[in-house]
């Protein structure tokens, strides 16, 4: 079942289930409680920004949503259908693509292999279709305006920004209805950041649900529809971009504004 929600966010028919939803998620690593009852909803054609201090639990939430970590408790549904176990391959086949904060690039493989990592093109079922992977990855990187010397260069030889480009290319290529991006602009300069902004805008126009983890409030106010603030593993508040200010978001991040009950928008 594919989600066919159209439009540019805002007034989507309320009956349609959200593209991705997680409710009351708990996750701890030993003594560290990374997520303490977090809920989140994102719809097709919407960009949801996830902000919070270092260690707030943003990356943990992204990894939980993409099937890398199992939750201790909580439920994930994709277009209304529960995701029954944590498995990156399952999550991807159900429509979730992820750009991880640590980029998940294999340094010893070339760019083409990295763009198609875990989802290679095949010939006769078992053979790698290198020709196609090389030409398609070159085309994708070109369309995303990521410049690399050659797609046959090992990813270990790339700059941080180029690696980021490869990681984004991998997620975008999968053409899934849901895209999670964990700090996709962290290693980028001004122009490259603008380019990622373009990519996010285009994903949104194509009706994708985008979750964007980012520390750059400028960027978020330019590209997001809603902002969800995490603090110490809990949802501090959720705001529509059109109805909030940078000051309010910063206050939520630092805890100067008290946590909303149930993470509801309080206006």
């Amino acid at each position: 079942m594919t989600l066919t929600t159209q439009g540019t966010g805002g007034q989507v028919a309320e009956e349609a289930p959200p593209a991705l939803e997680i409710t009351n998620a708990w996750k701890s690593f030993g003594h560290v409680s990374a997520l303490r009852g977090v809920s989140l909803t994102v719809r097709g054609g919407e960009v949801l920004a996830l902000v919070g201090d270092n260690g707030a639990g943003k990356s943990t939430l992204v990894k939980v949503l993409s099937g890398v970590y199992p939750v201790d408790s909580g439920n994930i549904t994709i277009a209304g259908v529960p995701l029954e176990r944590a498995d990156p391959r399952l999550a991807r086949s159900r429509g979730i693509s992820t750009v991880f904060q640590d980029l998940a690039v294999v340094e010893t493989l070339d760019i083409a292999a990295n763009v198609f990592l875990g989802q290679p093109l095949r010939r006769f079922g078992i053979f790698a279709d290198r020709k196609q992977m090389i030409s398609q990855s070159a085309a994708i990187l070109r369309s995303l305006k990521v410049r690399v010397p050659s797609v046959r260069v090992a990813a270990g030889e790339l700059s941080g920004g180029q690696r980021q480009g490869v990681a984004i290319a991998r997620a975008v290529r999968q053409d899934n209805p849901i895209i999670l991006m964990d700090e996709p602009t962290a290693a980028l300069g001004v122009r490259e950041t603008a380019q990622v902004g373009e990519i996010i805008r285009s994903l949104r126009e194509h009706g994708k649900a985008v979750i964007l983890v980012c520390h750059d409030l400028e960027f978020i106010f330019a590209h997001a529809d809603r902002i969800q603030v995490l603090r110490l593993g809990q949802v501090q508040g959720v705001r529509d971009v059109s109805a909030t200010t940078r000051t309010e978001i910063v206050s939520l991040i630092t805890g100067a504004i008290a946590r909303d009950v149930d993470g509801e928008v309080s206006e």
Partner: protein, 360 residues
């Protein structure tokens, strides 16, 4: 190497584009880098080394031109190359298999027992090989589920498997073995020993698996970055377990072939064999840090070991020096690997070089 036209196109169409690098895909550059890669590759260095040694040998002893000497050299090389090809695959996956010698003897003795019981060559080959696959499966299981480091798991099976073999055979050899079985180790077709042909097939198959299949790319991915591979949806445990199964199968199969060649199985087979096998893979450019290595390289490494051990005898050099030479070559090969890795991932230096279009 870009023409002015290309330069123009770049500046107009990519006005928005990040200026992350100096040049776009450039065919001329690719050709240069291909030649450079071949010349810089361990396989090339190894071929040259073997060639030089043989040329030197030819000037010293006419025996080096004797076809029979070469058949011996190739047959010995085959018996190392078969397990080395799969040891290479294990190393590339980020693992290590020290149990090769013990699995080899287990395969040899199992097949010898079956063959001497008169159950036929086919059953004997199957029995020996299956024993290896099962031991490989156990190795892979402990590495991936109990999370015990591979060096310890396979060192454990090195001890345990040989002990089990010695205990179950009472330490006695099994033989002589029937002709239909020994034919596969001693026979030849058009003057070429079957052993060499079988080994060639196994090595070529291992090469195709590692370099051409998606499974092979997954092996290189998990050896390069396990976490990235896992989050990209590669079934890392399945892949990792499978390489131990392949390695066990290949080692046991080599044992079966050895029993067939010698006409009997002995519990002393394969003692210290794992070291030669790993040496061959590393000499052939396989990195002990994982992800990097080729099967043809490992096969050439095996050939070098065989050429050295046979060649030094032909040159009437004290065979004790063999191991000295092997030791030096091994450390040199590992040093080259470290150097190459550093070259490969020294980002800034690399990019500066690229921008200056220096080819050194």
């Amino acid at each position: 190497m870009s023409t002015p036209q290309e330069q123009n196109k770049k500046t107009t169409t990519d006005a928005l584009a990040p200026t992350l690098s100096t040049s776009d895909v450039d065919l001329a550059d690719l050709d240069v880098s291909l030649i450079k890669r071949v010349v810089m590759s361990p396989s090339f260095a190894l071929s040259v080394a073997i060639g030089l040694f043989v040329i030197f040998g030819l000037t010293q002893s006419p025996q080096f031109a004797n076809p029979q000497a070469w058949i011996n050299i190739l047959r010995d090389a085959t018996l190392i190359a078969m397990p080395a090809a799969f040891a290479c695959i294990v190393l590339v996956s980020g693992g290590l298999d020290l149990s090769v010698g013990s699995v080899l003897v287990a395969g040899a003795m199992a097949s010898a027992a079956v063959a001497s019981a008169g159950l036929g060559a086919g059953t004997a080959f199957l029995a020996g090989t299956v024993v290896g696959a099962v031991i490989g499966l156990i190795n892979g299981f402990f590495v991936n589920f109990a999370k015990i480091p591979p060096i310890i798991v396979t060192l454990g099976s090195l001890f345990a498997v040989r002990a089990a073999v010695v205990a179950s055979t009472g330490g006695n050899p099994i033989g002589p073995l029937p002709d239909d079985f020994t034919f596969w180790g001693q026979g030849d077709i058009f003057g070429v020993p079957i052993v060499i042909m079988v080994g060639l097939v196994a090595v070529v198959a291992a090469h195709i698996v590692l370099s051409q299949t998606n499974y092979g790319w997954s092996i290189r991915a998990i050896g390069g970055n396990l976490i990235a591979a896992r989050s990209a949806g590669i079934a890392v445990r399945k892949v990792s377990i499978s390489v131990y199964v392949l390695s066990g199968t290949a080692a046991a199969f080599t044992g079966v072939v050895l029993a067939a060649r010698l006409g009997s199985g002995s519990p002393t087979f394969g003692q210290g064999y794992e070291l030669q096998v790993i040496a061959a893979a590393v000499i052939g450019g396989t990195s002990i840090y994982g992800a990097i290595g080729t099967v043809p390289g490992a096969a050439l490494g095996a050939l070098l070991l065989s050429v050295l051990s046979n060649g030094l005898v032909l040159l009437k050099i004290d065979p004790t020096w063999q191991n000295f030479v092997i030791g030096v070559v091994l450390v040199a090969a590992a040093g080259l690997d470290v150097f190459r890795r550093r070259q490969m991932f020294r980002v800034s230096a690399k990019r500066t070089a690229a921008s200056r279009k220096v080819s050194s």
